[in-house]
């Protein structure tokens, strides 16, 4: 409540400008270090950038909070909230805008003086400025001022009893009548306008979060919570809101406002600010499922900041990342192909599902070499082509050939033609040694709508192909091909003019899709060259964080590394998490778990080595504290998962969990045996011990299941699964007396009879 906290504000319109507010306001601009204007006053920010002080404003003492006017004009208008609750409009730098001049210096004075904690401009109706104040026994804590309002008429001021503060009211720029007054007898610590409706204001009050509706100020939605600091709404997902309390960040979904959808716990230091990542890479506005928070402190003249980037697990799945659609499809495709293959490779120990081309080609064996004729001609080529089961699988993964035994690329060519990818289709045809088809495709492309007539020229050049080593054609093509703009046309001539086995012009043409290059390599590189090339390409992809490389790495350790560098580069956590959700457990248990859980925690590890975070997306939460009842167990990593965690795994020797590990409140009781959940089921079935040998495994499994928690989603009554099952064998209504819910009938599978039951 006390102490002015230094803050940094980014300009809403200039990405290179920011304001630092401490005891005074300073406007800075970021530029490359050592530029012409670099003076002694510049503040080095990193090796390449430095901040230049543009303007300074020390007109407003007792500053507590600042908000930057959201509209373009007037540009540098700031609202400053002071310790006595007054809000003053001020500006930084010169402004020649008359509207600005009129506004600067205007003061908004609350009825009872107390600290102004927060300010928020309405993003749509930018005349509205909300101010959050400390508590007063008789006054409101959220005041909404209209900055364009005419100054309060002198008559009404005179009517007010002016005794103590008559000195202050002599200036004619004081507004004392707010447009709205909200939150009586409460303190307001943070504010933000909701983007889904500019009439809604979210406020962090003393012990709760409240949503005020300006259309009906007597109505409000609220939820009790500690996390009331720094409320902020996700700029791209308007129902998502973050707030914090000390070291804890809570993420809320406004559509389901009762509880936070996610709580990120225990930062070692108390947070000072939380924000949403607006844009991380150019052109992609969707990859916003990141929240940053930082802790900072003033250090001589500059600010030191620690940025911590944390991903949102649950929320990220709801959004589409950059590649959420394409990559998982590729991954599923990979699985399908590999499964087909696995049937054939029964003897092979290593599982190839998801393992990526890199691993597939390593195991290559029985490669045969053929020298085919150019189709449509009986001329023998001197280009060796290699075949093996693994290479075939790789080609399939690259999408060149379809499933089954068919090794013809015709289908693929047709689909490329349909998508008007003429150059690529021609290249693929050519690599399959069908020069005629390639020419035909190029002709088609030239004739198509909006087709490039130059393709005809290329076709002509192609038709002149000769395999004579010293022909003029060869000489000209190898030099002129570099001037071709399309990479596929370029690699076509590179292929035709290069020596067999030396296809660097094709393989290292980085603008050609990885899958095409890999497919090419699988066809024309021998067993020694191929793994070397694939390894090199994989490394390159990993370093660049290029998601296309997932084809090579599969979802292995390499794949996780690749994802990691992808997330490092783009911040697109959604895609990474989405892919990682598909990782089969047996392959890379540890990495996959981390990845699926919230990918970036792995890379934030470099900033926060102590940060251990394991969270399940679906968990049984305690009625009292809302934490997962498996909370304490999950901090022990990599134990057997599943319900054994809940301490109900059937083995009575295991420690029983009958109370919430978070708050120590007892777990609900089973409606039938009245024991707290977590207590193993007593042997109620009366199964005779004489039949012990009979199907022991099945018995065991059933016994384990009997201990599971189960409950009706309608009436929320429930108990041990075994008890519930036996109850509903001869009842239709809920076992809780007075509850008439027909639980079992609501369950669509409840009416099914197990096939093996008598």
């Amino acid at each position: 409540m006390s102490g002015s906290k230094p803050d940094i504000l980014w300009s809403p319109h200039h990405p290179d400008r920011y304001v630092i507010c401490d005891s005074e306001l300073g406007l800075y601009r970021i530029g490359p270090v050592g530029s012409a204007e670099a003076k002694a006053g510049t503040l080095p920010l990193s090796e390449e950038t430095a901040a230049t002080l543009l303007a300074i404003n020390s007109d407003t003492p007792y500053m507590k909070c600042v908000a930057w006017y959201p509209k373009h004009e007037p540009e540098c208008l700031l609202a400053v909230g002071q310790a006595n609750g007054r809000v003053v409009l001020t500006s930084l730098g010169q402004s020649h805008n008359s509207a600005c001049k009129e506004l600067v210096g205007k003061e908004f004075v609350p009825k009872h003086a107390r600290q102004c904690n927060t300010l928020a401009w309405n993003p749509v109706d930018s005349n509205l400025l909300a101010a959050g104040l400390d508590k007063h026994r008789a006054d409101f804590s959220v005041l909404i001022w209209d900055i364009s309002s005419k100054l309060s008429p002198e008559t009404s001021v005179a009517a007010e009893k002016i005794r103590l503060s008559s000195v202050d009211l002599d200036s004619s720029t004081v507004v004392t009548k707010p447009l709205y007054e909200l939150g009586q007898n409460d303190a307001c610590l943070s504010l933000c306008w909701l983007l889904r409706d500019p009439k809604l204001l979210l406020a962090g009050m003393h012990r709760n979060l409240a949503i005020f509706d300006l259309r009906n100020t007597s109505q409000k939605t609220f939820v009790n919570t500690k996390a009331i600091q720094g409320v902020t709404v996700d700029p791209h997902f308007h129902d998502r809101v973050a707030s914090f309390f000390e070291g804890q960040v809570a993420i809320w979904d406004l559509r389901k406002f009762e509880k936070p959808v996610l709580t990120l716990t225990e930062q070692p230091k108390p947070l000072t600010k939380v924000g949403w990542c607006g844009k991380l890479t150019k052109g992609h506005s969707n990859n916003d499922a990141l929240i940053y928070y930082f802790v900072f402190w003033p250090c001589k003249c500059s600010f030191k900041m620690i940025n911590v980037v944390v991903s949102l697990l649950c929320a990220c799945i709801m959004l589409h990342g950059l590649h959420t659609v394409t990559i998982p499809m590729q991954v599923s495709h990979m699985k399908q192909c590999a499964e087909d293959m696995e049937l054939k490779l029964q003897g092979n120990v290593q599982s190839v599902v998801y393992s990526g081309i890199k691993n597939i080609v390593k195991t290559t064996s029985g490669t045969t070499e053929t020298r085919r004729c150019w189709s449509g001609s009986d001329r023998q080529t001197d280009v060796p082509r290699y075949h093996s089961e693994e290479r075939c699988l790789a080609l399939r993964l690259c999408g060149w050939i379809s499933r089954g035994t068919d090794t013809d690329v015709e289908n693929f060519l047709r689909s490329l033609e349909q998508e008007h990818e003429w150059e690529r289709a021609a290249a693929v045809a050519l690599f399959n040694l069908d020069i005629r088809r390639a020419i035909q495709i190029l002709n088609k492309g030239a004739m198509a709508e909006k087709g490039d007539l130059n393709l005809n020229v290329v076709a002509m050049a192609l038709s002149g192909y000769t395999d004579e080593k010293s022909s003029l054609w060869r000489e000209m093509c190898s030099s002129l091909r570099l001037q071709l703009k399309n990479p596929y046309l370029c690699i076509m001539f590179a292929f035709l003019t290069s020596e067999p086995g030396a296809y660097d012009g094709v393989l290292y043409e980085s603008s050609v899709a990885v899958r095409d290059r890999v497919a090419f390599a699988c066809m024309f590189l021998n067993d020694a060259q191929l793994p070397r090339y694939i390894d090199r390409l994989t490394l390159e992809m990993k370093e660049a964080g290029n998601l296309e490389g997932i084809l090579l790495t599969g979802l292995t350790k390499d794949g996780v590394d690749l994802m990691e560098s992808y997330v490092d580069r783009t911040g697109d956590v959604q895609t990474a998490s989405f892919c990682m959700l598909k990782v089969p457990r047996q392959i890379t248990q540890k990495s996959a778990l981390h990845a699926a859980v919230g990918f970036t925690f792995m890379f934030t590890g470099s900033y926060q080595p102590t940060f251990v975070f394991v969270l399940w997306q679906v968990f049984v939460s305690c009625n009292f504290c809302g934490k997962s009842i498996s909370y304490s167990c999950s901090t022990i990593p990599h134990q057997g998962r599943g319900f054994s965690q809940y301490g109900v795994s059937g083995s009575p020797t295991k420690s029983k969990v009958t109370s919430c590990p978070g708050c120590r409140k007892p777990l609900p009781r089973c409606a039938l045996c009245l024991m707290n959940m977590g207590t193993p089921v007593s042997n109620c079935q009366g199964t005779g011990k004489s039949d012990e040998k009979v199907d022991l495994t099945r018995e065991n499994k059933l016994a384990q299941f009997n201990n599971w928690f189960t409950w009706c989603h309608n009436c929320r009554h429930g108990g041990h699964a075994g008890h519930m099952l036996s109850w509903f064998r001869d009842h239709t209504e809920c076992p809780v007396s007075a509850c008439t819910c027909k639980c079992m009938q609501l369950d669509t599978t409840g009416n099914l009879v197990p096939s093996d039951s008598s």
Binding site: M1, A83, H112, A113, R137, R163, N185, R207
Partner: protein, 328 residues
């Protein structure tokens, strides 16, 4: 339904008769805010201090110190904002009907402490079960534990006696004293506290020593009264206009209309801590006529502050109340 919260401290009441002993303690408090609940009220007779356990630990025992034996719990009505009352009357008046009257009926003795920010109702720890069961109908009751609000229910606290066994005595109507000086209710940015600390100490301890006139005559026009509280980081000050002039004007927070208050002192003899219904008998009529009020209990007497413009009607009302039992 409004919320009511227990502040997470238990408090001790102190009476200090010798100020210089207390002086060093006060300085210590100003420098380190380890104490979360601290209130100091200066009256002509003595200093009354309410403070939590943390603060009490720092206090050396002394013969000048008189400690009220019971532990008190502060209650605070927290609005959940669902119903914003249109009534302008605030403070004690607002809760008179919902809290103070029912507690008086159940013979729960309360100690009121109004601040600039809110009103605290202190109840004895042993009365907790009665308080909870009385107020449960009107309020959601929470106990704050480590920042979390934990709901309190009747069965959770019903250990020991359920009803206060005390006899229902017709509450005595106490005499009132209405001094002439005007009071201001103010607050302060905690950051600026050090800059006014010297003034504060000067006003509290040196301007007029309570020792000089231990038994003020009722005829005296002005009564020295000064209250300072620092609760959960919020500062609240009550002082008369004379004292207020010694503070730099721009640092103290008050209302923009500059409202002034008059004081009503309740009690001719020290009131003690067991009698109940004292606050109720003042706040009830005020609530009936919708007059806002501010109420500070001290070791000896209770003090109510009412807006200056309402003092005439309040005086009439209280006179009437005092005459009535006499006639009946």
């Amino acid at each position: 339904m409004n919320n009511m919260a227990f502040f997470p401290v238990s408090l001790t009441l102190l009476l200090i008769s010798y100020f210089s002993f207390f002086f060093s303690f006060f300085l210590c408090l100003l420098s380190c805010f380890r104490c979360k609940f601290f209130s100091l009220t200066e009256t002509p007779e003595n200093y009354t201090v309410v403070l939590d356990e943390e603060g009490f630990k720092e206090l050396r025992p002394s013969e000048h110190l008189q400690v009220e034996s019971a532990i008190w719990l502060p209650l605070n009505v927290v609005s959940n904002g669902s119903a914003s009352s249109s009534s302008q009357a605030v403070g004690v008046t607002k809760i008179a009907k919902s809290v103070i009257a029912p507690l008086a009926q159940q013979h729960v003795s309360v100690f009121m402490l109004s601040t600039y920010q809110t009103d605290f109702i202190l109840v004895k720890e042993k009365d907790l079960s009665v308080v909870v069961s009385t107020l449960e109908e009107e309020f959601n009751i929470y106990k704050e534990e480590g920042g979390e609000s934990v709901p309190v229910h009747c069965q959770d606290v019903s250990n020991g006696l359920h009803k206060n066994g005390r006899e229902a005595i017709q509450p005595t109507v106490h005499p009132v004293l209405i001094p002439k000086n005007q009071f201001c209710v103010m607050s302060l940015d905690p950051d600026t506290l050090p800059s006014i600390a010297t003034t504060l100490i000067d006003v509290l301890f040196y301007s007029s020593s309570p020792k000089e006139d231990p038994q003020p005559s009722p005829s005296q026009d002005c009564v020295k009264f000064f209250s300072f509280s620092l609760i959960d980081g919020y500062i609240s000050l009550v002082m008369d206009t004379e004292a207020q002039r010694q503070f730099p004007a721009d640092l103290l927070f008050t209302s923009s209309s500059g409202e002034l208050w008059r004081m009503v002192r309740i009690g001719g003899q020290p009131l003690g801590f067991d009698e109940c219904g004292i606050v109720a008998q003042i706040s009830q009529p005020l609530a009936d006529s919708d007059i806002s009020a501010y109420y500070i209990s001290t070791f000896s007497f209770d003090h109510a502050l009412v807006p200056e413009e309402d003092i005439v009607s309040v005086t009439d009302m209280l006179q009437h109340q005092r005459n009535e039992p006499a006639t009946s």
